[in-house]
């Protein structure tokens, strides 16, 4: 159990600045994901937390105590590596026992062969074996203890790596893309197991991934990194519904959020030649962006819900992807043919036309004003009181 605090972490490799001042607080028992595209510095940050790299500037504190001078072992952390980093020449049991052997036995007792020559540590050895077995049973790998990593499947290796991390009772659990070497099906399963592990151990987890779905589904909070900077830290729902910037909105959600270049005009926006009614007090300016999630779009027209509150967009069908349960529709406005407008439509859901597969040509998409997120020309969020906007009297007026 531990609280982790990062203050102004900076790190450069040669002349490239990988981390540009990261400050982050991770609460005791929290599952925090560091998410970002490859090269954003998330793995470097994790290695700095672990003590495998030292920051150029900044402080890492665990439970309020700076640990910058402590080596990895002294920080009492556990780390699971992307490709597990199991010792290939040791059995599963030896792999898992390693942190305990190093922690509890003095040099003279742990040198090869000394186990038999130096008596007096029998109880320690027995203790270690017992602990390894207990953790192995917990992870259901107790039947694999005598095998070597090469004889294990990807999922089993993953579990051994977890076991080696768990056995030492760490304060802090670090994971560096632990699922990326597993196949899709196993990934979903292990994802669930890691979440369960977090619940049962109540440890503080810091989880690095490039996969926003992993970050969203597993974490209490998500820290989104880009080019060495924290874009936003918040709950998965915060990042999805209330992004601070276009980059955050883009990174979270699949298919990607629709970004419509717009101009603020009196009583709304112009998107291409299309007017979108929206109450705002923005000064008319040319560069603005509207963000609308594909899942907030529906096929408009007669069946649209609460017609007077819906904003409609007449678009042209370009293509579609049938995902079984849902269809991703790719469309574009006539006046903005290069801007892909994606709509994610549930096939089975009531109210959706059964002929949705056969949609072609001119279509009307509809969405509510509350689905709109506003961003300025630089991609920073312009916050309006969304709850109020939907029911804003002026908006109603315009819509009618």
């Amino acid at each position: 159990m531990a609280r982790l605090s990062l203050q102004g972490i900076r790190k450069s490799f040669d002349k490239t600045e990988v981390l540009k001042g990261i400050s982050l607080e991770v609460e005791d028992g929290e599952f925090m994901s560091l998410v970002g595209a490859s090269g954003c510095g998330k793995s470097t940050l994790l290695r700095i937390i672990a003590g495998l790299e030292s920051p150029d500037k900044g402080t890492v504190s665990i439970d309020g105590r700076p640990v910058d001078e402590a080596n990895p072992k002294e920080r009492n952390i556990a780390m699971v590596f992307q490709d597990y980093a199991l010792y290939p020449h040791m059995t599963v049991a030896q792999n898992m026992a390693m942190p305990l052997i190093m922690g509890r036995l003095p040099m003279r007792a742990r040198l090869p062969g000394m186990r038999l020559l130096i008596p007096g540590f029998t109880s320690v050895w027995r203790d270690i074996a017992g602990q390894v077995e207990a953790v192995a049973r917990q992870l259901r790998i107790d039947h694999l203890l005598e095998r070597r990593p090469a004889q294990l499947s990807g999922g089993q290796r993953q579990r051994v790596a977890l076991g080696r991390a768990l056995v030492r009772n760490p304060h802090l659990f670090l994971m560096d893309e632990p699922l990326s070497n597993l196949d899709a099906k196993l990934r979903v399963q292990v994802r669930k197991e890691i979440v369960e592990l977090h619940h049962s151990t109540n440890l503080t987890f810091v989880y690095v991934t490039h996969d926003q779905i992993e970050a969203m589904t597993m974490s209490d909070r998500v820290a989104l990194l880009q080019e060495g900077q924290l874009l936003q830290v918040g709950t998965p729902d915060d990042l999805y519904t209330d992004p601070d910037s276009l980059n955050v909105a883009r990174f979270i959600g699949s298919p990607e959020v629709n970004i419509l270049p717009a101009q603020a005009v009196q009583g709304g926006f112009n998107v291409g030649e299309q007017f979108i009614p929206f109450a705002h007090d923005l000064t008319p300016r040319s560069d603005l962006f509207l963000g609308v999630r594909p899942e907030d779009l529906m096929i408009g027209g007669s069946q649209a819900l609460g017609a007077q509150q819906m904003i409609t967009l007449p678009v042209t069908h370009k293509s579609q992807e049938d995902l079984g349960g849902e269809i991703i529709l790719h469309t574009a406005l006539k006046s903005l043919p290069d801007v892909d407008i994606r709509a994610r439509l549930q096939k089975a859901a009531g109210g959706v036309d059964a002929n949705i597969r056969n949609l072609r040509g001119e279509i009307t998409l509809a969405f509510t004003a509350s689905a709109i997120r506003l961003f300025d020309g630089a991609g920073q969020r312009i916050r309006t009181d969304e709850g109020a906007v939907a029911t804003h009297p002026a908006l109603k007026e315009i819509a009618q």
């Binding site: 290695r47 990895p72 072992k73 590596f81 010792y87 290939p88």
Partner: protein, 297 residues
């Protein structure tokens, strides 16, 4: 259908044989043929100075095992190997470990240590002879400065084998070091990361628990190839000592050379060669078994 299939299979078979033929032919000509020839020759009394020869069966071999020169050569070779092998292994491993962690000078040091490998040992042996000279040699001059010596490196029967081992060492450590460096580079970096997290941070622990076991395949290879090199000692002996003083540096291959090309006993020399081949084969076998089993992950 079956006709077409059959002919396709036949055509493929023919093509396969055609493709393997050149390599097989070369192996037969260069390796298998000479080995058979040597084995056959070892059972004759063939000499270079007499026409015709007769089969004598195992006579050459019985003579060989009764021959004091054979025993002496074998003993000398083993003494030489005992000086040479551990040093060639340990020194190159230590050098590799030391150089590997260097960032800036690594490539420079690699080249420096590898240079002797690229030089012609026959030529360099003469330089070594000059260095080791009992009167004007640099080594003895230096030793005399501190009040030691002179040591007759190549003339003293007790010292000649270690001295020859030192020359061979100089010529091989660069090669072994590069092999070890390759082995070290192949160890995944994240194993050391995992080790640091697990508390394996003392250099001794790190070496014993990660580096040494991960280096095992390389070590077996280096040990076996170096052993073979040790038994193949010839050129420095031929150039510097001619087996002397007395027979103190008459090593196995030099004896074979003497029997064949100085005394013209080709049949006997062939028997020596077959025995030598057996020893090399044993080393190769050890390497094959070791790399097949435990060392492979």
């Amino acid at each position: 259908m079956t006709v077409v299939k059959g002919s396709l299979a036949r055509r493929r078979t023919r093509l396969a044989y055609a493709l393997v033929a050149p390599a097989s032919l070369l192996i037969l000509l260069i390796y298998v043929g000479p080995i058979i020839a040597v084995i056959l020759a070892s059972m004759t009394d063939y000499t270079l100075i007499r026409d015709g020869f007769a089969f004598v069966g195992a006579e050459n071999y019985t003579n060989m095992f009764a021959d004091a020169a054979f025993a002496n050569a074998l003993k000398n070779t083993v003494i030489y190997a005992a000086c040479f092998l551990p040093a060639a292994f340990v020194v190159s491993l230590l050098l590799a470990l030391a150089i590997q962690s260097r960032k800036r000078f690594r490539s420079v040091l690699e080249v420096i240590y590898f240079l002797p490998v690229t030089s012609t040992l026959a030529a360099m042996a003469l330089v070594w002879a000059a260095l080791m000279d009992s009167r004007q040699g640099v080594f003895n001059n230096t030793l005399q400065l501190v009040g030691l010596g002179p040591i007759n490196f190549l003339g003293n029967p007790d010292i000649v084998l270690p001295a020859l081992a030192a020359i061979s060492l100089w010529s091989i450590i660069g090669f072994n070091m590069v092999l070890f460096l390759a082995g070290l580079t192949a160890i995944p970096k994240n194993l050391y990361d995992a080790a640091a997290i697990d508390g394996i941070d003392h250099p001794v622990d790190r070496f014993l628990r990660i580096t040494w076991p991960m280096l095992a395949p390389t070590s077996v290879f280096v040990a076996v190839t170096t052993s073979i090199t040790a038994f193949k000692l010839f050129d420095t002996v031929a150039l510097l000592t001619k087996g002397g003083p007395g027979r103190a540096s008459e090593v196995y291959l030099y004896l074979t050379f003497l029997e064949g090309f100085e005394y013209f006993n080709m049949g006997y020399a062939a028997a020596l060669s077959v025995f030598f081949l057996g020893i090399i084969f044993l080393f190769a076998l050890v390497q094959m078994l070791m790399s097949d089993r435990r060392v492979n992950y």
